[in-house]
Symmetry: C2
Subunit: 367 residues, 2 copies
Amino acid sequence: MSTTATLDTVETRIADLVSTFVRLPQGVRLDESCEPILQATTHQAVTSSEGGKRLRALLALDAYRALGGDAGRERRDAMLDLSCAIEVFQTAALVHDDIIDDADLRRGKPAAHKALAGPDHDAALGVGLGIMLGDLLATASVDIANDAAHRLPSADAINRAFLTMHREVEIGQVLDLAAVHCPMADPARLARTSLDVFRWKTASYTTIAPLELAMLAAGYPPEQARSCALDVGEPLGLAFQLTDDLIDVIGSSSATGKPVGGDIREGKRTVLLADALAGATDEQRGELIAVFEADARTEAQTARVIDLFHHTGAIERSRRRIEELWRRSLDAIAHMPADDDARRTLTAACARFVPSVHYTPREPGSM
Amino acid sequence: MSTTATLDTVETRIADLVSTFVRLPQGVRLDESCEPILQATTHQAVTSSEGGKRLRALLALDAYRALGGDAGRERRDAMLDLSCAIEVFQTAALVHDDIIDDADLRRGKPAAHKALAGPDHDAALGVGLGIMLGDLLATASVDIANDAAHRLPSADAINRAFLTMHREVEIGQVLDLAAVHCPMADPARLARTSLDVFRWKTASYTTIAPLELAMLAAGYPPEQARSCALDVGEPLGLAFQLTDDLIDVIGSSSATGKPVGGDIREGKRTVLLADALAGATDEQRGELIAVFEADARTEAQTARVIDLFHHTGAIERSRRRIEELWRRSLDAIAHMPADDDARRTLTAACARFVPSVHYTPREPGSM
């Protein structure tokens, strides 16, 4: 299992890779009037990259080791870079996501497009530079992955899997924007749609791609890597997003850097909302729909919705959903072509994504 | 030289590649409430891809053939796809560029983020989907290039050159946003800054990358491909952008799909403006600075600026700049490791980028 030392290594390596990528070639001299904005952007590339939990990189690294990936120095370094590339891609996606949501904060600091608006608070400049920063980081992620892939087995398959991850997240973001139109009158449909969004927007790069890339780097054939990564990673990624949504309602603000109830305040159509609508009385349902159809929600309304999420059984229902999905991941791990030690390590690595679930480890192969 | 038939082939292939990339895998069923927005986005991916002049694809194809690229079916098809990938990347960049500039039109049709605002004119939705469409097309371009590279010599070098192109354009866009702060009081600095922006934002993917990719695909060693592409492509790309800016002032609106004087109306700091400031009387200079420092420009002011561009000699100065840059490209072509036939074809392919210049073809090797 990865340790705090691994986390430090990942953090340092990401900063190195990103700052190298955004640096201009030596000998290029630009007019001094361009310097402040160019420097602000390259500085923000590193700032935006800092402070993630690195769950995705750690999953990829742990899965690689668990599944017998070559422990030689060169291969380990390449696998570290590939894992960092996933994190750099996440930062790219978050920078664009924050523009789309017009979010103020990210990881407890100003969102990139807010920071880039500069001392004059030039919102249009901030958005313009933010779009470009996201583009630069997305290119950086492919470049880093591409470079790492050449030092690992199955370079082609790794490059393809990395681009598939990009594509799935981008489609997921489109689905997320489309899901706002899903009618609240049909809670089952609303829950299904939210889970579709989770599959594409979150599970794709959070759990599926780290597992798939680790298996490819460890030498598994591409088809097997893809199917195992989907079997384990899809339910795990959904469970992770459900957990994240649950923490948003019941968790502490220090844990996520976001205030409690943020999703409700934004009017997000979550699975929690769908489950609350499904378990609500007619009166409660009417109240929820009115609150979520409004342009904005007050603090009092947000608190009331949290109460309703409890009273309608939605919180409990989400916990059961998470347990059920986690159980599916465990079953898939039990079926993986790996030994018992590998399955145990992999189980522990996957369990990081569902901190709210007190799972009972099974004996490998007992199912 | 490429013909109209080549242009049709490029156009059809781009539509095929883009629509394949954005299509969801078979068997994926999403809630019907998501369908209209998802379909609008995938449809817009193709619409935004239509109707370019394809100068970049044609340069890559002509250079590949001129420089002795393998004429076998498989290699030719791969080179076609690689050339299309450059065009798909351009579309990705234009979609984001139009959001940054809040442009209404592109290639005579509504800009992507305007079209995606939908029947409700939901500007935030349009921008959100537009950002994602640009991201999707950027990923598509890398995916298409990657796939083509594997069917050509120097796959690794082609992938790297393609990502370098992405990176340079993204940095160029940041420089463009920064250049707004370049002071008009120093016209020489303003001109130099604009030319820096042209190098990164335009020449990178318009002329340098198509030449470099064609040379790599034709089997030239990476260092030689890069240095020849820079020698020929950098001045050619600058000449192309100067020509484009000149057409914006003196050309017909039917040729570009944009009304005359658009750059002036937007207050763009161009080389033409720098040259006008350099050649102006004190009174004219004061007038130009006042007009360009204002938040907006009227039709009358735009017409007056066009007059001043003529009277200060800026138009004539731009023509001379274009001729001088074109001469540098011709000299670089004369030094290329290729035979006379190849140089002639390459010269004709490059001449497409400077339609306003009536160049005198030299005898190859005569300089």
